[in-house]
Each structure stands twice: as C-alpha cells, then as structure tokens.
C-alpha cells in the first residue's frame, strides 16, 4: 500500500529492449534484499559506489545476467531511503526475472510515482519539485527538460519563497502594530509596507505570465488552422509537416475530424491542428468535426486564418469576431492568384475585408517549398524567442490558480493601504495571500507571524 514502509522496486528505465535497463529498489533493507540475489557484493558496501558481478534469479539458481549495482545509503538517495539500482542488459525477460527475484525476497512492486512520493514524504523535495520530476520525465523537448530541471533544483521554490517572505514581513509589522501598539515599537510605516506589497504584486504577475510560457513548454505551442472550407488548410498542414497527413481533395468539407501534427522548432514543440472548415451543414459527421474544431480553437495559442486568394467572397466566421487570441492571416494559393494580382493589391483587399486582424499577413502557397520556412521563421521571431525566463514558469494549473489568487489578495491589501483602512483588514488579505503562496509550495502556515514579530521587535511592557 502506498504510504507504507515496505521495500519497493520497479523498472526505472523505459520498458522494452534497450542497451541496458535500470531497476530501482528503495526502502530500509534494500541492500539486504539485493544481497540475496547479488552474491558478488563485498561485506562492506559503500554509498555511491558501483559493484560489478553476476546476478542470480531465485528459482533457477543460475546466473541471469552480468550487472552493475549502485548503492545509496539512507539520506543520500533520491528517495531519502536506502536504495539500490541495478543496471542489467535491456531484455524484458531479464528484467522480469530480476524483479520477480526481488519480490520473492521481500520487496514489492512500486506504484506509479511512488519513488518521488517517498522523496516528497522524506522532505527531500517539496511539492513544486515533485511536480517537476514528472515534467522532467515526460519532457518532449529540450527546453522543457531544461526548465523542469531548473524547478527540480528548487529554482521556482526559491522565487516563491521571496514573495512569501514579503508577506510575512508585512504581516509581522501589521500585527505588531495591532497587538503591541502600546509598546512604542518602531514598525515599518505604511508606505514602506505598500511599496513591498507592490513589489510582490509585480512579481506575482510575472509568475502568471510565466504560466503561459510554462504551459507552452510543457504542452507545446498550439496553432489551429482555421478558415472556410476548401481554403487549403489541409494542403498547408501537409506542407508544414512535410508529409501527407491530412486528406486533400477539391471537395469542400473534406476534413471531418481535427488532424493533429507536431514538430520541434528551436527546442520547442509546435502542435498544428488542421480543423474542419466551419460552415452550416446538415452532415452529422461534419457537424461533429466542426464542434471539435471549435474546441481546438479555444485551446490554441495562435490562430492561422487561412484565406483562399482565388475566392471572391471572404466571409468572417462569427466566432472570429469575438476572438482575442493572436491571429495571423495566411493568404493561400499564391501560385494561382499571383497570376492576376500583386501582393499589394491582395494586402489591400485583406485590410479592407478584415480591418481588425491585419497585424500579420502572409502570402503563401502550399505547393511552394519556401512556405514552411517562411512561416516557421516568423513563428520563431514573434513568439518563441521571448520564452526564456524559466524562473517564473509555473508548471501546473494548480500553481497558476493559487498565484493568481495571491496576487488578487495582495492587490486588495494594497488598495486598503491606499485608503488608510484598518490593519486588521489588510492583515486578512495578506493572510489569504500567504495561504495561497503556501499552497503553491505545499506547506501549511502556522504561528510564523508571531515568531517573526518576536524576532524583530523589542517587546516588553
């Protein structure tokens, strides 16, 4: 059962055939269990040393494999408990043999994430770090891995603790002002407190923006291709991915389901969604597809409105009127319309038709090899080059919600200070802010404020 004190083991590397596989064993007594199947171990085993020898499976008493065994003593391992890692050859049969041998000698299978859970319970890592481990393991791009590692090292926690400190400091001064007002203390004046709180608000805002970046790092940058049926979305999609993923025909409404494709750009993962052209239709399948398209559009970080340059009547779909997401206009089929019009003429037409969406206009052709390069380069310049501040990148929606709540409380506290309202009300807001910060860190607040007061002020009536 999770939360017990048993010795747990599991394959720590990816399953399947590989050069080597690593089996991790953790819990008090791990070494004793490992000894039973690793007779080659010397009497004295040292932490952070590697031992080589032949491992035996229990049933057959035959040598199963040649392995490397690393030993980590209590307090010096990832989980904090005594741990052993066995590197064997990457054959699932060998791995299975070793694990079943371990289990028959007293270990049990670990549950998903249990090693990290133990590290958390043993206070080797905090909640933010624990979440980062998952991200690190699941990273699908270099940037994401780099960022997760930064969190694991406690980078984010450090940043958040700075804000925690500001709140605690402000609270200790406000509470001292309330509870020890008769003691003639030199507490910080309200202006000083206000300035500090302002600082924290700015910092929290950075975190909120960072969340967006964090999400992009984690989940990839999402681009939805939208536009009228038969504007060439699918052709462009295939061109971007350099493969024939979406079915392309000349029949409007060919794309029924949302088609997904991904590629990496400058270390980031980019996801493309080819959506069904949105139009009134009686076709049930197409209707479902359109519904799905709407969903993808809602999740996207960037919309590409694909226009057919040869089409006479461009219509702006209703949903785009309310759009607040960044949107690029991509005028497709330039190989055809450029025969009769110049880019300038086309640009003018776009500007007249869509006066609200003319920041970025591209003229491309899905059959042109240059198209992919042009769009990718612009993407890199406009979006991805700015995504560099890893200190402020929150990794989960949970953290984001708490940070936002903390910021809102801090703003109200700031406002109360401006209006010269009572300390007890400002304190209420700051305590709420502090609680939210502690939720990010996974710690619970206790008598910290009083302790802070006594450490700072000379109190004594």
């Amino acid at each position: 059962m999770i939360g017990d004190n048993q010795i747990i083991c599991a394959l720590a590397s990816a399953p399947g055939r590989a050069g080597i596989s690593v089996i991790r064993i953790s819990g008090q007594g791990s070494l004793l269990v490992a000894r039973k199947i690793c007779p080659f171990l010397p009497e004295q085993v040292e932490s952070h040393h590697i031992y080589f020898g032949r491992i035996k499976s229990s049933q057959e008493k035959e040598n199963v494999d040649e392995v490397l065994l690393s030993y980590f003593s209590e307090g010096k391992s990832y989980t904090g408990d005594e741990s052993v890692e066995i590197s064997c050859h990457g054959n699932p049969l060998i791995v299975e043999d070793i694990i079943s041998a371990l289990i028959s000698n007293g270990a049990r299978m670990a549950n998903p994430g249990e090693f990290t859970l133990r590290a958390f319970l043993n206070q080797k890592i905090d909640l933010v770090q624990a979440e980062s481990v998952l991200t690190l393991i699941e990273s699908r791009s270099k940037q994401e891995a780099k960022w997760a590692l930064r969190h694991l090292e406690g980078g984010l926690s450090q940043q958040i603790k700075k804000i925690e400190h500001i709140f605690l400091w402000a609270l200790s001064h406000l509470e001292a002002e309330i509870d020890f007002s008769v003691e003639n203390l030199k507490v910080a004046d309200k202006k000083q407190i206000q300035e500090k709180i302002f600082e924290s608000i700015e910092e929290l805002k950075n975190f909120e923006q960072g969340f967006q970046q964090g999400r992009i790092l984690k989940q990839g940058f999402r681009i939805a291709l939208v536009g009228q049926p038969n504007s060439g979305k699918s052709s462009l999609f295939n061109c971007l991915l350099k493969e024939d993923r979406a079915i392309v025909t000349e029949i409007p409404g060919t794309t029924r389901d949302v088609v997904f494709g991904e590629k990496t750009l400058g270390g980031f993962r980019i996801e493309f969604f080819d959506t069904a052209g949105i139009r009134q239709t009686q076709d049930i399948i197409e209707k479902i597809g359109i519904e799905k398209s709407h969903q993808k559009i809602a999740d996207a970080d960037l919309l590409w409105l694909i226009l057919d340059g040869t089409e006479k009547n461009w219509e702006l779909e209703n949903f785009l009127r309310k759009n607040i997401k960044p949107l690029w206009i991509v005028v497709n089929k330039s190989d055809l319309w450029k025969k009769t019009q110049s880019e300038d003429q086309m640009k003018k037409r776009v500007q007249e038709t869509f006066p609200d969406f003319c920041n970025e206009i591209f003229f491309v052709s899905a059959v042109d090899a240059q198209t992919e390069k042009t769009l990718m380069q612009s993407l890199q310049e406009k979006f991805l080059s700015q995504t560099g501040n890893f200190d402020h990148a929150l990794s989960s929606l949970r953290q984001f919600e708490n940070v936002r709540a903390a910021r809102e409380c801090a703003q109200r506290a700031h406002e109360l200070l401006t209006n010269q309202q009572g300390e007890e009300l400002i304190s209420l807001e700051l305590k709420d802010a502090l609680r939210n910060i502690h939720l990010v860190l996974g710690t619970v607040w206790d008598d910290q404020i009083l302790d802070e007061i006594f450490s700072q002020f000379c109190i004594g009536k």
């Binding site: 509870d179 989960s396 209420l428 710690t443 006594f454 004594g460 009536k461």
Partner: protein, 638 residues
C-alpha cells in the same frame, strides 16, 4: 462515603477565585483552600486588568457570570480603550485597578457566596484513588475528601525566586512555595516543566521626582467591563507617568550581566518573549539607547509605585544603582526589589478541553500551572474549570467554547492542542476569527451560552436579555425598513453629505456607506438616542460584514482539515514520512481531526500531507480496493 465538599479549589489567585465562584453558583458545595485567604486575587505583577485581547476575555467571563470584570470596574483608577484609532475588532479595554481594593472586593464577594467555604491551609498532596482524584491531604496530614479537585496554584509549585545569584524558595515575596504537589503528579506520569517570569521593583511614591515625568491620563469616557456596572467609575482617576532609561542605566546593567541568573545559566525555565526583563531587552536589541517605562501607582492609599517594563532579576545592589539613573528616580527609595521566579507547570496537552486532566480523572487544572501568563488568561481558565468540575458532578454536558465563539475558546484550544513552550499570552493575532470576536458583541456571541449555563443572577440575566432583544429589534428594523428615492429622502441624504439614491435601499444597505453612521439613521425613522451599547455592535457588524464573510471563507479552507476525521484506530507509527518525534506527539495527543493534528507544535506540514495521503489511500482501499493514488488537495504527486 460522605463528602464534606463536592469540589475543592486549591489556590486563591485569579483562576481560583473564578473557579470556586462558578462552581458554588452552579449549586455544588465548594471549598477554596489558600495559604493566605487575605491575599485572594492578588495582583502579583502589574496593577491592571484587561488590554488587547485580554479585555475581550474579561468581558467574556463577565457575560458568562464571572467576577473579574465587575471587580475591575469597581476598583478602576484609570480607564483606557487601547487601539481606539484602529478597527473595532482590535480595540481592547484596560483598567488600572487599586490593587488592595481589588483583592479586598473579591474577598468580600467570596465571603458572601452561598455554597462556598474559604479555608486557610496548605495542600501537600492529592488523595488518589485508582485513576482518579478524590480529595487533598493538608500539611498537617488531615484529609479532605471531594468529588473533584481544581488546582490553581499559579507560580507557586516548587517556586524559586532569584535575586541576582541568590535564590530563595517562594512564589511571592514573603510567601512560601508549594512543595510536593507537582512532584506527586510527576510520579503519576504527568509531564512537568519549568517556566520563568519576572517582576520589576516597587518604588516609594514620595521618593520620585514627579516634576521630571510626563503624566499620562486615561480616557475621559468610561465603558465598564461588566453588564452590572454603572457608567461612571467609582474611584477617583489617576495618571501614570512616562519615563525612560538612560545610557548610564544600560551601562550599569551591561557591566553586571554576569550577576544575572538569566545570563549565568542558573535559570532553566523559559521566560515570556513578550515580557522580557530589562537585561534581556538590552542584550537582544543592543542598538537601542533608551527604553520607555511607565510609573503606575498601585492604588489610591498606597505608597507603592509599579515600574512597568523594567522587570529584572539582577541583585538588589545593582538595582539600587541602575534604577537611580532612570529619569525622575535619582533618589528613589525601593520598597520591593524586582526578581525572577521559576515555577513548575504541567504540559497543557495533558488536559482535555474541559480542563480535566487526562491521566487523572476528577482533577482539573487552570491558570499559570497550565503554562499561561496573565490574570485574564488565568481567570478564564478558572471559570471554565469551575463550570466543568461542577457539571461533571451534576452530570451536565461539558462547557467548551469554540474558537469562533470566544477568545476563551482560542486560549483553551491552543493550550490543549498545541501546548506551549513559553508562558502563553493571548494576542488578537491568535484568533483566526478576529473580526467576529469583538468586545462590543460579547453578549451576542455568548448570551445564549450564558442563559443555558445559568450562573448569572436573575437580575443580570434580565438586563442581558433586554439588551439582546433591543439589539435584535434594531437589527431587524434597519434590515426591513426601506428607503425610496423620493424628494424627502434625497434631501435628507444630501444634508448628510452622501449621494442620492438610484433605487430603493434598506437602512442596513445605507449604513454600509462609509460616511453614514448609525446615528444618521435617526433621520429615517430609527429610534432616537439609542445607547451605544445597543447601536455600536450593530453598526460595526454592518460595516464589517464584507470582511467577516471573507474571513469565514478563509477559515472554511482551514475547516476542511477540521472535518477530516482521523480513524480512532489509526496507528501513526505506520504512516510513512513521520519523524519519530511526530509519531510520539501524535500518539500522545491522539488528535481527532487533521485540524487538531495541524495545531500540534512540532508536527510539520509535510507530516500533515503524509497523514492526508495515508487517509486517502486508506479510504480508497476501503472503498474500491484500488491501488491507484489520487489526491484532490494537495494534487497528485507522481
């Protein structure tokens, strides 16, 4: 077996007085044993009652039927409402009292109390029968049986006074220590530790150069603690005087630190952080070149003056020297030297919320022996212990006040679940329900409880009922009376300097405007000249309501923990992630909810998460035999 008494209260301090009065008033035969009955409710340290958060408790005791507030009102020689410029929740009443008159007045009340016997004597030990307390044994060996015993020995258990490096057994100058009791309890398995406290020198008023000092008068208006008191103080009001230490004072103290028992390591007990000695202050804040002190006359007819803020345990010779460097004290005559006192206290986590000890039945503990400091903290516990001891005999339900009902509830819950390592004093910041726990609404909070309790005299009860009915009536009136945006209303509003109405509003909604006061509502039909007693709490509630709601939300978050029950069969040693110390503490206290567990000192946040994970898995296994881990709060850890 026949009992001479139902309840014996040992110790006649502030806790003891309230305990024996509450018990006797509930109709059980009670005996107060004190080594010197004439010193009942003595103010051993500062000559005042109340203060921030403490004034709240005095009012709470009063509404429930205690005496402290009434006696303080009767003997008040200076009245002050502290934090009067701050929000209503953090204002606190403090009264300086005539010390001797306070004690004498309380003695008079005790003497007149039916069912109460005052007995001068020394209790040597408890009479134990199996696992319960059955009376006391006196110094002469005689036995007094009772159904319950309340100990309120204050700072007297194994007390040692320190004057410099010289020690003397005793809890107060001229009074013996109480030896034997705490040793007996220790042998019975109670955890007993040492605390320390101190008091400053008392000075002769004629030897002070008052001309050099700044007088500080109390407030002009007088708001008594008690429902029973009149609106005017009975005694003449006096001033206190402000003075300061000088650099010379500090030099003398610094040069003699080696003679302080605190700094030479003789004192092992932990002192209060909020009431440090002057030696402590100089050491911890070396950058300060002067500290303020108030000279407070201890009464109208006494020569004794209390020197607030300068408690010390330096030798008398050094006190002679440094006191004379304080402005106005150049040729001061010292009546009593300051000293530190060390005493035994029982780890308060060994008592239940009803203040009965866990190891020993029918034994109740209250006051400083539970690790608190302050007269008000002691009186509050004394009252609750008195009620619960009586109720245990009368087979009535126990009285436990919630943290959202009273500061007394916060006090006892803190003590019982968190324990304390230093003398515990109440602060408003300890109360998470601070905006609701106000002095002005004490009656609204505790009126019902008091009625059910039935300690208040019928006369007081009538007054209480009348007042709360009146408040109820006015509350309803302003909630139900609607104002319509007609000519007359708009004119009246303009006259009051506020904006016109756009739609109909109730008087309560109008009162929410910052510029509108309760008094202003008289223009719209509210009864004229309502007493502040009636109107003030209503006005404050209306103005605070938005924040009170927010506070409740905040508490609700914490309340989740309060609702997470720990199964009674839970074995903390089996939960991963708990340190040995945490397991010990949890096994000892056996908290019933995660909330209680969270308040136990030394139980870390990570331990709470570990318990939460354990509970979650525990429950899930019970439900569906699933081995999957999922958590809502905190979220999944993979």
């Amino acid at each position: 077996m026949s009992f001479a008494f139902d309840i014996i209260v040992v110790g006649g301090g502030h806790a003891g007085a309230e305990a024996c009065l509450a018990a006797a008033r509930l109709g059980v035969k009670t005996c107060l044993i004190s080594s010197d009955i004439s010193k009942v409710s003595a103010m051993s340290c500062n000559p005042s009652v109340g203060g921030l958060a403490k004034g709240h408790m005095v009012r709470e005791i009063d509404v429930l039927g205690g005496e402290m507030g009434f006696v303080a009102d009767e003997t008040c020689i200076q009245f002050k409402r502290l934090n009067s410029s701050k929000g209503p929740a953090v204002r606190g009443t403090r009264m300086q009292s005539d010390k001797d008159k306070y004690s004498a007045r309380m003695l008079e009340i005790l003497k007149q109390q039916k069912n109460l016997t005052l007995f001068q004597g020394e209790v040597k030990k408890l009479l134990i029968e199996q696992d319960s307390c059955a009376g006391v044994v006196l110094a002469d060996g005689s036995v007094m049986n009772s159904k319950a015993v309340i100990l309120t020995n204050g700072t007297f258990l194994n007390a040692v006074m320190h004057f410099g490096l010289t020690q003397q057994a005793g809890g107060r100058i001229g009074e013996k220590a109480s030896v034997g009791l705490s040793d007996q309890l220790r042998e019975l398995g109670f955890a007993v530790h040492r605390l320390k406290t101190g008091t400053p020198a008392r000075l002769h008023k004629d030897s002070i150069d008052w001309q050099k000092l700044t007088p500080e008068w109390g407030d002009k208006s007088f708001y008594p603690f008690s429902l029973r008191s009149g609106t005017k103080p009975k005694l003449p009001q006096i001033a206190c005087y402000l003075s300061r230490t000088t650099e010379e004072t500090h030099n003398i103290i610094r040069n003699n630190l080696h003679q302080s028992p605190l700094f030479s390591g003789i004192i092992e007990g932990v002192g209060p952080r909020y009431c440090p000695s002057i030696e402590d202050k100089l050491t911890r804040f070396p950058e300060r070149t002067s500290h303020q002190t108030f000279l407070e006359p201890e009464g109208l007819d006494t020569d004794s003056v209390y020197l607030q803020g300068i408690s010390t345990s330096l030798p008398p010779k050094v006190q002679d020297e440094f006191l004379r460097t304080i402005t106005g004290l150049e040729s001061v005559k010292i009546l009593k030297y300051g000293y530190a006192v060390e005493y035994d206290f029982f780890e308060p986590t060994q008592i239940w919320h009803r203040l009965e000890s866990r190891p020993l039945k029918h034994l109740f503990l209250a006051g400083q022996i539970n690790g608190t400091s302050g007269y008000e903290e002691a009186a509050a516990q004394g009252f609750i212990a008195g009620v619960n001891a009586a109720h245990s005999i009368l087979e009535k339900p126990e009285l436990i006040l919630g943290r959202n009902e009273a500061y007394i509830g916060v006090l006892i819950d803190d003590l019982v679940t968190k324990g304390t390592l230093e003398p515990y004093r109440m602060f408003t910041s300890r109360a998470e329900h601070r905006l609701v726990l106000r002095e002005d609404n004490t009656l609204d909070r505790l009126g019902k409880v008091s009625q059910n309790l039935g300690i208040l005299s019928s006369e007081s009860l009538e007054k209480l009922t009348e007042l709360s009915e009146k408040r109820g009536f006015v509350s309803d009136f302003i909630q139900q009376t609607k104002l319509y945006p007609n000519e007359a209303t708009q004119t009246a509003l303009r006259y009051l300097g506020t904006t016109a109405l756009l739609k109909p509003v109730t008087l309560e909604e109008l009162l929410r405007r910052p510029e509108i006061s309760g008094k202003h509502l008289e223009a719209f039909g509210l009864e004229k000249n309502l007493s502040p007693e009636v109107l003030e709490p209503i006005e404050i509630r209306v103005k605070y309501q938005g924040y009170i709601d927010r506070q409740l939300q905040l508490i609700d978050h914490a309340q989740k923990f309060e609702e997470m029950l720990l199964p009674s069969e839970i074995k903390f040693s089996e939960i991963r992630g708990l340190s040995t110390e945490e397991v010990q503490k949890l096994e000892l206290r056996r908290p019933r909810t995660l909330g209680q567990a969270s308040r136990i000192s030394g139980v870390n946040p990570s331990a709470l998460q570990a318990i939460m994970i354990f509970l979650k898995v525990h429950r899930e296994r019970g439900n569906k035999n699933e081995r999957h881990l999922s958590l809502e709060n905190p979220p999944i850890i993979s």
